[in-house]
């Protein structure tokens, strides 16, 4: 009847966010106000699963009265995502793996085995020394206690480990019967290297790295080495001779890795894995970046071109969403400064794409857009008006000013003014959207005029 064919972990990529507060971040949704469609998304508190510290059970899912991102004592609430196990059953649908489904397959929650492996390889990426990898592995477990993600590294001081948070197999109950694991990321601390100054460095909470074993403290990104990170020298450091940047030997408690789950049903071992990671908080939680990891995955799954399965309505929604996201970025950018305007007589007054273009390529230094146009209020209003017009259902008319991925090296006045502007992409030049995003906007632009009937329908934000 409901034999399980396969397991999956959903979401397949769950993001945790650092914070040292005891209570994790509450749940919320980001919603559009139908009466003020140009206004920021509204954050609305949502049912929050509270986990009992001792039992590992979910005790309630109440909606918090107000949303707070910090604990009121200077600590940020960590974002601690749940990952759920879903089962592909013989009806060829995915459904949550629950106690009932386990029972139907003659297994129990304790038969579900978990393992989590995460790493922080930032140091190794720079020193190329495998002994600089920090890795944590919980091993397989079936209980509902907290399993620390203890980062170990060959080049750490004896007995020192890097706490990377913990995972917990949430104990299913009659009321919350789903099989799920929660990843609680680390506190967001900075650690140092032991030896001479580390122990007394007020910037770090502890010295973990043994400078007598490894080279991280004092490391210099060697100019001209083609293996360097791009950009290079992005570690805490101090100026050294000949323009070098000498590492202070700091490390953080970010990580990423895999959550494995295993269940043997009817003699068949089913396995699945999902991914987790821990980064800094989303400090503007009502805003979405113009190009996100979801867009990367979408393009990788469906290819760079819009296809027949992408309806004109879908395409129009993508166009509108791209615009809304652009609006959200613009609202939080000092576009006059980012444009490279001279501000109060100060030329090249901040780190901008304009500076970057000149520094990397020798292009002449000049503002990207006409300096008169770029005050944030004016640019913001324009983006709002574009979004308003798009909501009429009119075909997007701006597809031809979107930057194509292969014209990022066009640093002419025209090339730099393509959209999105003033922002940097993965290749260090002006950002291009994914090709699939661009093609979907173009698809909407091609097809809208043959429709009859009013308006695009309401489209929501994230969640």
């Amino acid at each position: 009847m409901t034999a399980i064919l396969e397991l999956r972990i959903l979401p397949p990529l769950a993001i945790g966010r650092l914070g040292a507060a005891t209570e994790p971040m509450d749940n919320y949704t980001a919603e559009l106000d139908p009466d003020e469609p140009l206004a920021p998304r509204v954050l609305v508190p949502a049912p929050t699963l509270r986990v009992d510290r001792t039992s590992g059970e979910i005790v309630d899912d109440e909606v918090p009265e107000e949303l707070r991102f910090t604990d009121g004592h200077g600590k940020v609430k960590p974002v601690a995502p749940f990952v759920e196990v879903w089962a592909l059953t013989e009806e060829l649908v995915l459904r949550p793996l629950t106690m009932e489904l386990l029972r139907a397959n003659k297994v129990e929650p304790k038969d579900v085995r978990w393992r989590t492996r995460v790493g922080n390889h930032k140091i190794e990426r720079r020193t190329y020394d495998l002994k600089d990898r920090v890795d944590a592995d919980t091993g397989w477990f079936t209980d509902h206690g907290e399993h620390a993600l203890t980062g170990r590294c060959a080049n750490f001081l004896a007995d020192k480990t890097l706490p990377l948070g913990h995972v917990r197999y949430i104990k299913p109950t009659a009321e919350y019967p789903g099989i799920r694991l929660r990843f609680t990321p680390a506190g967001g601390y900075v650690y140092g290297s032991g030896g001479m100054i580390g122990e007394h460095d007020p910037n770090v909470v502890d010295a973990l790295y043994d400078s007598t074993k490894g080279t991280w403290r004092g490391h210099v990104d060697k100019p001209g080495d083609p293996r360097l990170t791009i950009p290079n020298s992005i570690y805490a450091g101090d100026d050294g001779p000949h323009g070098t940047w000498i590492s202070r030997g700091y490390l953080d408690d970010e990580c990423d890795g895999l959550v494995d789950v295993e269940l043997t049903v009817g003699g068949r071992k089913l396995t699945a894995y999902g991914r987790i990671g821990a980064g800094p908080p989303a400090y503007a939680p009502d805003s979405v970046p113009v190009r996100t990891i979801a867009d990367e995955l979408d393009q990788a799954l469906f290819g760079p071109r819009a296809g027949d399965h992408d309806t004109p309505e879908d395409a129009h929604k993508v166009a509108e969403e791209v615009l809304r996201r652009a609006l959200e970025s613009v609202r939080l950018m000092n576009t006059a400064v980012m444009n490279g305007n001279t501000v109060d007589g100060r030329v090249d007054a901040a780190s901008t794409m304009v500076r970057q273009d000149s520094a990397d390529t020798g292009r002449t230094f000049e503002p990207i857009m006409a300096p008169s146009l770029v005050d944030t209020a004016a640019v913001f209003a324009l983006h709002q008006d574009v979004l308003a017009a798009l909501r009429s259902g009119t075909a997007p008319w701006f597809a031809d000013v979107l930057r194509d991925y292969d014209e990022v090296g066009d640093l002419t006045a025209k090339g730099r003014r393509k959209m999105p502007a003033l922002m940097r992409g993965a290749d260090g030049r002006s950002l291009a959207l994914t090709r699939r995003q661009v093609d979907l906007v173009r698809k909407a632009a091609r097809q809208e005029i043959f429709r009859q009937g009013q308006g695009a329908d309401e489209s929501g934000g994230p969640g």
Binding site: V343, S372, L373, Q384, V386, A389, S392, D410, Q452, A456
Partner: protein, 487 residues
């Protein structure tokens, strides 16, 4: 209807006065065209600078009128009646015509720069329709796209010596649409250029370089539309290149003449370069050729069934019929009350667009790469926002019924009616008061649409427009009150 410039036109187009020997008598004293030497001749009541300013006014009006008619034609295209196999083509044609309209916008703005440089007032005015200026290539009429209306545009933008079978055919079609031989825009630019080329007519010091910060620049108005390093980009539609917006600053005689040459060239593929595929002439002709290949029945399906010259007449049901040359031009009042509201909103936003442009010309851009920013940037952006609004509103109007008694009959289309005046107040504060008036008028209309028109309740666009207006008025209030920090 004759415009006020008509009586001065003999200096450029003497043939207009062939049947009026009395008028010609005194013009002959001034000397019309010196046929042999092609020298411009100054008509009475003018000196050379003022005459040039007048001709530039006419030029502005022509560019403006062409732009509006092209936009109307482009907006008419599409609709569910377009057969599947034609859709790709039709969308491509629409994109070409919209591109040409954008380029006309560049011409219009460049003419304003010429005027500003010479110290003349800018001119964003044009006559309402139906109207024909002597210089105007054909009587101004808003028409849906047909083979004949397209033919008129081809001829309007055609080079001086365009002959042959195809030319004959297109000209015949054009006459069906316009009822007269279509004149050429190029004549006017040729005349202005001849004057500007003469140091004795217009001395060097009459070109005011210091007006550059007030002039429009491609940097501000081009929105990235120009030929780039990689050639002309693919536009919204794969097969159609994106337009090239030409906006030239004018600070000297040479820069003035270059501006005229460039915009003239973009129109009609001047000289021997008839193969230049990017001219308006060639692009229109390309569409014409493709459209003409279709059977007549299919040609009619390319555009929506929208009215000619829709107007939001206050005295409803009153159609104005004007005989212009051999053709009768008719206006069609929008009698459907819901549609009329949309039409009024369209007219108002059109007025806001023109007001924003002329207001922007009153505020200097920053002299260097920055400095203190003014409201100019916001006005330029708002002008573009109004273009987007017009597009959105036109998208509605081409779907809505014209006649209250014929809900399934002819559709309305965007009326493009001119405001009573485009004069801006002298004092800056009063100009912002005007801006506030317009935003308030818009809010009255959007409220009315949302509250009285059941079809518009919760309309996502009108709701968003109302919000945008509210935000715009907040900004205007700040300026009026000098509220907040002044930094």
């Amino acid at each position: 209807m004759r415009s006020r410039v008509h009586r001065h036109m003999a200096s450029v187009l003497p043939e207009l006065f062939d049947e009026q020997p009395a008028a010609m008598a005194y013009l002959a004293v001034a000397g019309p065209l010196g046929e042999a030497e092609k020298k411009p001749v100054l008509p009475p009541e003018f000196n050379w600078r003022d005459y040039t300013v007048m001709l530039l006014h006419v030029a502005a009006e022509i560019e403006h009128s062409l732009m509006v008619q092209y936009l109307f034609a482009a907006y008419s295209m599409g609709g569910p009646q377009v057969p599947d196999e034609l859709r790709k083509k039709v969308r491509g044609w629409q994109e070409i015509i919209l591109g040409i309209a954008k380029e006309e916008m560049g011409h219009l703005v460049t003419v304003q720069n010429l005027l500003t440089s010479l110290g003349g007032p800018i001119n964003l005015d044009r006559e309402d329709y139906p109207w024909g200026s002597d210089f105007y290539p054909f009587p101004f009429t808003l028409r849906r796209l047909t083979r004949e209306s397209l033919a008129a545009y081809v001829v309007a933008e055609s080079p001086a010596k365009w002959t042959g079978d195809l030319a004959k055919k297109v000209k015949t079609d054009a006459e069906v649409a316009t009822g007269k031989t279509v004149n050429r825009v190029g004549e006017l630019y040729g005349r202005i250029d001849a004057i500007l080329g003469n140091r004795e007519h217009i001395p060097d010091e009459l070109f005011h370089a210091e007006t550059l910060p007030y002039q429009a620049s491609w940097d501000e108005w081009g929105r990235g539309y120009t030929r780039g390093e990689r050639g002309q980009d693919a536009g919204n539609v794969e097969t159609v290149k994106s337009p090239e917006l030409l906006v030239f600053g004018v600070f000297s005689r040479d820069s003035a003449r270059k501006a005229l040459h460039e915009i003239g060239e973009q129109g009609e593929a001047v000289g021997a370069d008839e193969q230049d595929e990017t001219s308006h002439f060639k692009r229109f002709l390309g569409i014409y050729a493709e459209l003409a290949e279709l059977p007549q029945g299919k040609q009619d399906l390319v555009a929506r069934p929208i009215a000619e010259n829709p107007v939001t007449a206050h005295r409803l049901n009153e159609s104005v019929v004007v005989q212009y040359a051999a053709r009768t031009v008719t206006t069609n009042p929008i009698t459907d009350p819901g549609t009329a509201l949309w039409g009024h909103l369209f007219n108002l936003r059109y007025r806001m667009l023109l007001t924003d442009i002329s207001h922007a010309f009153r505020l200097a851009g920053p002299l260097d790469n920055g400095g203190v920013l003014t409201g100019r940037g916001a006005l330029v952006h708002r002008a573009f926002a109004e273009m987007y609004n017009l597009r959105a509103l036109a998208g509605r109007l081409v779907e809505l019924p014209l006649d209250k008694d014929k809900p399934d009959g002819t559709r309305a289309g965007p009326p493009f009616e001119m405001p009573y005046s485009l004069e801006l107040p002298d004092r800056d504060r009063d100009r912002w008061l005007l801006q506030r008036d317009l935003v308030e008028a818009s809010r009255l209309l959007t409220d009315q649409l949302l509250e009285t028109n059941p079809a518009c309740v919760g309309d996502p666009y009108v709701v968003a427009l109302r919000e945008s207006d509210r935000r715009a008025s907040e900004q205007i209030e700040h300026i009026l009150d000098r509220k907040g920090c002044t930094g």
